[in-house]
Symmetry: C2
Subunit: 141 residues, 2 copies
DNA sequence: TTAAGGTAGATGCAAACGCATGGAACTTGA
DNA sequence: TCAAGTTCCATGCGTTTGCATCTACCTTAA
């Protein structure tokens, strides 16, 4: 077992444990965590976002994301309009209602995150952020 | 945005990026990553394992796990037998075929993991493992 | 001993997923 | 300029998922 494999296994385990914890919290309203993730990504990355770009951030297949966006559009949380520059593509953005929903869920969820990670020291938090950022940025190889 | 929230977002993003990378690798045979995860957990945690124990390690609802184990039993990869000490429960273990399959997939996958994490220094790998272990162990609060 | 409450895992069912594929629009090179 | 290849997103379809619920078994306490 190499160091790399131990680190990855430990990361996966932490992810699973925390995701379960967060999922069990009663803050999601009538959204799933995955749906919230889409709203959050749209709010964070700065709309409008392309489908493919959004898909890069969300752990979901392209067809599944396509249909989830469908549903969010139907529910009035996301706006999907054709991209004038590339007529194959779409431009996705939050509606005002979508932004509101994201914020209302995001606030208590952010508190849960803070609480769950409060076992780490500020130095550890910085290290964790730096290391995982390095991993995520190294998208190709 | 607190440090904790930045760290968590970065961790999630790294997880998503790496999972997509691994999923795209052609090493999974006729298993899904989630199915492999079950076999891996059984091999790592030392069988026999209770359903509920297995469920703690796998990011899947209890019913979904129950049915996945069904399928793995049907395919001859997992053995499920009643627990003599608690007749509600079951004892899950790998069959020889299951162990073989896990190893055959695990080997190349482990190499992918090593490669993907090779952007980190040994010190960073140790820090990552230590920090995420701390997070996972703090299961309750 | 037994009734009340809790825990382990299975099952019905609607919703969501991934894979394969489709059509339309962009890009490239001859 | 236009045929071949690529990219973008949507759709058909069988499989898997989560929620709610069920049954069976264990535990506690009166």
């Amino acid at each position: 077992m190499t160091r790399a494999n131990e680190a990855w296994e430990s990361l996966m385990r932490a992810y699973a444990v925390l995701m379960k914890q967060f999922n069990a919290e009663d803050v999601w309203g009538d959204l799933t965590m995955r749906e919230y993730d889409v709203l959050y990504t749209l709010s964070k990355c700065g709309s409008p976002l392309r489908m493919s770009e959004l898909n890069r951030h969300v752990l979901l297949s392209q067809p599944a994301l396509s249909r989830m966006v469908d549903r969010l559009v139907d529910r009035g949380l996301v706006d999907r309009c054709p991209d004038p520059g590339d007529r194959r593509g779409v431009r996705l953005s939050l509606t005002p209602a979508g932004r509101k929903t994201q914020q209302e869920i995001g606030r208590p969820h952010a508190r849960s995150v803070t609480r769950a990670l409060s076992v780490l020291t500020p130095e550890e938090l910085d290290q964790l952020a730096a290391i995982t950022r390095k991993l995520a940025e190294n998208e190709e190889r």
